[in-house]
Symmetry: D2
Subunit: 382 residues, 4 copies
């Protein structure tokens, strides 16, 4: 299977997430970087491309240039897929333009700023048939895939309750004043969107819940807070959730809980059992059942589901972590792209990645949460 | 210091919590059992008293008899204190009668069924000067006392956020139908009160938060659920909380989260740091600070506060647990009773126990939560 | 069942372990303190006895006096049992004298200084029929009893390997120079015996292994070290062990591993599975099997063995700890004493406590270890 | 910096470690695979090379062919480095031949079968100046680098004691009979070498200790066991160790401890503190000091040493794991190779990887351990 040719938008010098995407793509040898518009600043874009060894004629000063020039290339040289790793406000124009031009797209989350933008992307993708992945990377973990399997196959019985947390503390002080780039744009509504903490990490938590349980949100009751004085967006959010069918939920997301590093965790309880998973030690699931001893399931074990096994590279006890999970999203997208190229349908275990539909639902989640936070009514419909 | 003479109401054969109280009182040698009305069933009461070696003339068939007979004894033989360990609905009449008669009282939680009952008890105690302890036992843990010290002395800065959980799974099925006595009365509104899960364990969580932080609740937004069909009271509750001064909170309490044994935990975050404590491994506090490595504080260490040290019997690494914490409540009450007997004021570290005031606030918490759960408004004032 | 009358030798003001014994005896109401010779210093003995409310005529200045006076009392007033909680060198004369006089004995560990002393105690006990318990308290934990059950009932298959650790750091500096009483006598060969670390805590580790596995030591290969300059006894010891039948073992015991509080742990591996238990969080066993997920067994659960359940006072999740385990040794001894008093045999679950035989084997372990440490041969026969 | 061209020997279809090496090299973009002799079976070698997209003319049927053909290429097309990932017995001839021909070498561990082979490799490397890395991958973890820094910079004081464990259970049954390839050759002395467990994983443990502490072994006392009947090599080993300067050590290594996955852990204790690190959750160090609370150090934190920071790709809380650590060894080797190509010396933080010297010491460790196991003397000099 040939390597997919990708172009990257964003991810230049000083960026955080671009390098993660590149390493994730490099890990399994499925992609090669052939083009880039690595910064909104043309000069920085070029320097960044040089760092990465881009050939000068495909080291672009802007994504518009990249789009135009790539389209001018013969189809067997042209990029297959664009990877969009810019601050949030740039996602929409880039994704729209490349998708409309028929390229496959991998875009960071949250997808866009508004549901109407998200729906527009869905319409485009439906028309062009492009693969469109959104890097909700936490669902790439093998043990998350197994959690999904446990829930979906009824091992926990009917789902009653979901507790999801995303505990961080890095914005407990006004870090954005220090010039730290990540803090700067993530706390700026113009670049980050309508929500801060809930947009940046609450959206990951929403996706984790939806992926594992398949439950649909019915309504949300949110309390969002900006604890750090002078900050414009929320840096903490607590939600009660109701799901269609009667399950209840709690989401705790925060950027001011000192000591929280990147502590996304999930608990799901049903009529027959409960499970727990922690991202910071991600190779395990704690499984509790009625009247049986607690179990610790470990990545790499024979008793795991096929999707978890497929997402595993090395044996139990040799921990896999963040980058490997991220890479699993890209593997799923690559499978889907190859299937398109080969004009065939995906096999059962192929193409396991979050799509533009997940991305759109995430935007609706952010919007509903912000709306609920402003409401004196307890429940805001999803 | 002489042993305090106590009489017990409730706690006969098949009871759960009575034996805990008796062991807690026995542990440190401060109390001796001299009288009892150990069941509402006179025959069972007598048999239970025989089991415990009560002398026949003080092995009473009812608490009314016990009250009358003890009052008839000379003051230096009479019980000093009554320990009330009955199902909830019996707390009020017994506590009222003994307190009015001038006895000191230790009563299990939740204190009574209504705030007006609680206020009546406060008025009586104010008049008689009796010691009135409520056995919110989790605040007896040394590391909870140190958590209180850390918050109150400003080590965490201004408090921003509190997360309290009480995770249980024992009522995930309809256990009350099996004849299990604990499940039977705890799910019965007539005996348990207006709330199930929130009354039984949510009230402990509320007390833990209030004790450690000293913050006053401003308003509550509650979602209570009865997951097990046919059950009359809530078996799950999730709350958003707002505190006077701006701190936010989340409470998760459940009796249907399979795998939860008696998992009460607390996290408190301020502008300078955060702490975490778990009851199931209670000898530790996790302490996070801005820009310093995470610390694990251990019971028995030199660096702990005086109250934590006083509440500690044995060195670090020799774990102390539930019964010892329970006994610490009784030690605090005993100190207060002795001070009354000696007509002196308590020294600084003496008398560290939850009082009728804490008990009353707990009832108000239950009432407000139930009211909020029935409301379509987001916030119900506390 | 009447309370047993006990007299205590040692355990006066400033002692550590005496108060543990008294609380352990108080917890379950099976014993009452009626006599004491609480210090080798007669004046201190008397003051200590006053603290504890001993009646003046049974508050003795020496154990010899106590023995003589108690023997002079009518048998129904006389102490039933003596509890010996002195520094090690006093164990033998006191135990011998009381045992010969027909009293039941509970003695702290290590039992005595030499195997010949230990054998003499065995002979006496065989003659008088007295109950003689040695407070190897860690075997009192319910989950240790269940570990024993798992091994003895074949759940782990044939035992291949045992790893036992007792990690402490409190003697990492020359604490004995500070006047700290515990450090003072424990590092003094005249009072502590031929070994330091191995005598004080290695002996606990030996007993834990023997209790859980029932395996007999075949030979030992020891490396003992005195890391703190000027100290006379070992403060660290590492052992390879061979057991009759082919199992292998490792013991790590130390008083200089900074950060070790009272970290005694056990791992046992057989042909079918392995288990792990940690004293500092003692309510759990980790159980691994061939081809099945890891299990966490929790104290208080229905699936545990009868002996573990009998040793449990309160439900799962309400942690029990050091004092409760200690008290379980005293419960076992009390059952044996009552059976003697009633001239009946013990029922199957009664009398579960370490005896003088365990104590003697512990001394042989210390002697063999010290001998091995001095030898250039790899293996020293046990 | 251009990508290094590498050729791989071994690592074809069904191999375990070859794919790990390839992913580790791919992750950071420093290497590209251009040639291979991927199996000792020429046909399988070719098929494996096709899987990996090798060009037919550099997809070799044997390493001898590869050596000859690569040497015939112009220097700017020729491979820079050979990566040897065969079973152990093939390491020596391949490494020798390529090193003698002036290629840089990365070789899996244990390096070779005998110390004389190891010394021969050292002599060759000294002559040619080639870079020769041995993939003791566990020392690539950032927190292992920080542990090394803590010890070497004196934060723990003088080192007294080291406990290293490598707990596995995968060979608890006679897996080699099932045809499992890894079990097959690892239990065969002809292919694995003189030791089984000690060679395969004990050698990793030795390297971890040497890397972190810099201490030299003085003597070893080993007890090796073959628990599984009919197996030819040890599957369990326990060692007492003495280090030059007086520190003591214990090594526990096993392939029959059921439940052990890949549980390599290290504890180091000095006069001022102690540390603990576990490979299965590798982003943390537990640090204990005299009289200060226990600390948990986390990867990605500002307070870590420069080498740990350099070895870190993503922020704290986004766990990095096995592959990333493996890749760090390859980064260090690449830096050294580039420095050679550029004829410059390494900067202070460059070139941090285990060398042929480490590999040779590992072989001496295996030989000494096997010798000690056969000896009735306690100590065998290293």
């Amino acid at each position: 299977m040939r390597k997919l040719r990708y172009g990257m938008v964003g991810g230049g010098r000083d960026a955080f997430i671009g390098v993660v995407h590149r390493k994730a793509m490099a890990l399994d040898g499925g992609y090669e970087l052939v083009a880039g518009a690595l910064s909104s600043n043309p000069e920085k874009a070029k320097l960044s491309g040089e760092d990465l060894g881009l050939s000068p004629n495909r080291n672009y000063g802007s994504w518009q240039q990249m789009l135009e020039s790539e389209l001018a290339l013969p189809i067997d040289q042209r990029i297959d897929v664009v990877s969009i790793v810019t601050p949030n406000h740039v996602h929409f124009p880039v994704a729209k333009a490349f998708a409309e031009a028929g390229f496959h797209v991998v875009c960071d989350k949250p997808l866009v700023h508004t549901s109407s933008e998200a729906e527009e992307l869905i319409r485009i993708v439906e028309k062009t048939g492009a693969v469109f992945a959104v890097t909700y990377n936490y669902t790439g973990y093998p043990m998350v895939k197994h959690a999904r399997h446990m829930v979906r196959s009824g091992q926990l019985g009917d789902i009653r309750k979901i507790i999801v947390e995303y505990n961080q503390g890095w914005l407990a002080t006004k870090l954005e004043e220090s010039g730290q780039k990540q803090a700067d744009w993530r706390t700026d509504p113009a670049r980050s969107g309508a929500a801060g903490c809930i947009g940046d990490i609450g959206s990951h938590a929403e996706n984790l819940v939806a992926t594992v349980t398949g439950l649909e949100l019915d309504s949300i009751c949110a309390d969002l807070t900006t604890f750090v004085e002078g900050r414009q967006l929320d840096d903490d959010g607590n939600l009660l959730m109701r799901f269609v069918g009667g399950a209840k939920g709690v989401m705790i997301a925060s950027q001011i809980q000192i000591g929280g590093e990147n502590d996304i965790r999930l608990r799901v309880f049903g009529t027959k059992g409960g499970i727990e998973w922690h991202q910071e030690n991600p190779n395990y699931i704690v499984h509790n059942s009625l009247d049986a001893p607690r179990q610790i399931l470990t990545r790499g074990s024979d008793y795991l589901c096929a999707a978890a096994k497929k997402a595993t590279r090395i044996p139990a006890g040799h921990p896999e972590a963040f980058l490997e999970a991220f890479a699993n999203v890209y593997i799923g997208a690559a499978e889907a792209i190859h299937a398109k190229l080969e004009q065939r349908v995906l096999t059962e275990l192929e193409g396991d990645y979050p799509t533009v539909i997940d991305g759109a639902r995430g935007i609706k989640f952010i919007e509903t949460t912000v709306k609920s936070a402003a409401s004196s009514q307890k429940w805001t419909a999803f």
